[in-house]
Amino acid sequence: MRLSLGKWLLPVYSGLALLFLMIPIGYTFLYSFNDSQKSNITWQGFTLDKWFNVCNVQNGAVCQAFGNSLFIGAVATVLATTLGTMIAIAIVRYRFKFRSQTSLLLFLPMATPEVVLGAGLAAQFLSVGVPKDMLTIILAHTMFCISFVVVTVKARVASLDPALEEAGRDLYGSAAQVFARITFPLLLPGILAAALLSFALSFDDFIITNFNSGAVSTFPKYIYISAARGIPAEANVLASAVFIIAIIVVVTVQVSGAAKARRLAKLS
């Protein structure tokens, strides 16, 4: 008896811990169906209305903010992924001076609290006289995403078998051809993972955005500002939709990765 109790304790605990993690997600999802008026606090009955008329509330302020977040996320992701991938390749593949200083410079943004990053950039924009708008948000997001891209892509570059590229060169491929036909496709999963991470970080960022956005609204900023007077259910709809899409993407990637691993295992 004692043995079986000990055996079940950990799985049951883990299940409960995961359930605990899901509670606010379930709450947010549930309240996207709430037939609420202005504030979405008490349950008023089930409706699909909010899902079909997401942009109707407050002249589409939610959707405007959501669109801004998508745009900022996309631009910052492209910039950060490009710059970060280049650094990752250089770090793994080349020798250069100031190596440890470079690593420190890449590590520090991840170890700095967001308030400090946000206030620092805002202080700089203030002293240079740059007005805060969409551009300053994109510049800020790109900055904090670069380091995360570097770590993610670096792992992939390090695991790359150099024999494959040598084979390409032996077959008289030019440097550009070897990169485009061999190196880049092999790095692509890492680059895509880094891009997804960047987008997620940018999309959900509030603290740094708040310091550098001026009058521009983003989805998290919209939620923060409306928190005082109640958030419309439409915000829950958009957040839930993003959640569902993200989960589908993650599960697809996992399943296709597992299938690929099985195929490779069969081949060898």
Binding site: L10, P11, Y13, S14, L18, F20, L21, P24, I25, Y27, Y31, I41, M86, I87, A90, R93, R95, F96, L105, L108, P109, M110, A111, T112, P113, V115, V116, L117, G120, A123, Q124, S127, T142, M143, S147, F148, V151, T152, A158, S159, D161, A193, A200, D204, F206, I207, N210, F211, P220, I223, Y224, A227, A228, I231, S240, V242, F243, A246, I247, V251
Partner: protein
């Protein structure tokens, strides 16, 4: 999502197959990104430092300051905001402790026990990262609503007399620490998982073969072997938690008596336009964190993590 930063830090065991070369290509690859970080990360820190010593302009408006060396700014913010400074670090420390306590068994189950069932393992991992996919602010607000005075949870606690009739849950130190703990559990669980997943169970078997009790094996074998994960997880929780101001904000889980450094930095910068005070507080926050982190990393013997 910062876990990626730490989960891949362990050097890959494959010996570096490439003879690293010096080449102008390296410069071309590095320069744009490094310049970007110098321009938008390092220079802002310098700006922040300069701002923290600024003095109000004579006969100037609110928000007008001149470069100076007014070190009294630091004395003023420490005397005015010392409760916030203490609160930031004590809340963050408490939340880190609870997050570790909650996450370790979970990570152990996913990383060690669930190895036999890869599908379950990946499903559980998806659930651990699931909170990242829904707005951090909405999740925190969900807790606020679940803990509001009219909520089922609070009403039942009151009915059971576990909570006084006039007591509140939101706006207290408890709810802020609760929120911080909840929000950082995934940041704690993922690095723990990545080290535990590689834990060689034969070491544990060897321990019990040598007549060590399960508790002893855990303390002497499992914990030391998972130290890199513990260090990474606690740092990933402590650093952002100390600077967080969402959970402690009055519109979320906090109240007037729970404001942290982040809240006063935000208020001074964006509302009061007292930029030097906000900058001085930021510099204090960053310095204390860097000192704590470097001592912690040295003492736990995991320097290679950085």
């Amino acid at each position: 999502m910062a876990f990626a930063a730490f989960s891949s830090t362990t050097p890959s065991s494959t010996t570096d197959p490439i003879v690293r070369r010096r080449s102008p290509v390296a410069l071309f690859l590095l320069l744009p990104g490094i310049l970007y970080l110098v321009l938008f990360f390092l220079t802002p820190l310098v700006s922040l430092l300069l701002t923290s010593f600024q003095a109000p302009r004579e006969f100037g408006d609110i928000g007008q300051f001149d470069y100076a060396f007014r070190w009294q700014n630091y004395v003023e913010v420490v005397t005015t905001y010392w409760p916030h400074i203490v609160r930031s670090f004590s809340y963050a420390l408490t939340a880190t402790f609870f997050a570790l306590l909650i996450s370790y068994p979970l990570a152990y189950f996913i990383g060690v026990k669930a190895r036999k069932w890869p599908l379950l393992q990946s499903l559980m991992l998806v659930l651990v990262i699931a909170p990242f996919f829904i707005s951090f602010l909405l999740r925190t607000l969900a807790w606020k609503q679940l803990f509001s005075d009219e909520s089922f949870v609070v009403q039942s606690l009151k009915a059971l007399s576990l909570l006084g009739p006039e007591a509140h849950v939101t706006g207290t130190a408890f709810s802020v620490i609760f929120g911080l703990t909840y929000n950082f559990i995934p940041f704690m669980t993922l690095p723990l998982y990545t080290t535990l997943e590689r834990l060689d169970v034969r070491y544990l078997e060897a321990g019990s073969d040598l007549y060590a009790s399960p508790f002893h094996v855990f303390r002497k074998v499992t914990i030391p072997l998972s130290m890199p994960g513990i260090v990474a997880g606690t740092l990933l929780t402590f650093i952002p938690a100390a600077g967080d101001y969402i959970n402690a904000s009055r519109d979320f889980l906090g109240g007037t008596g729970t404001q942290m450094m982040g809240n006063v930095i935000e208020a001074n910068f964006l509302v009061l336009q007292n930029f030097p005070a906000a900058a001085a507080l930021s510099i204090i926050l960053m310095t204390v964190i860097l000192v704590i982190v470097s001592i912690y990393v040295k003492r736990s013997g995991t320097e290679e993590l950085l």
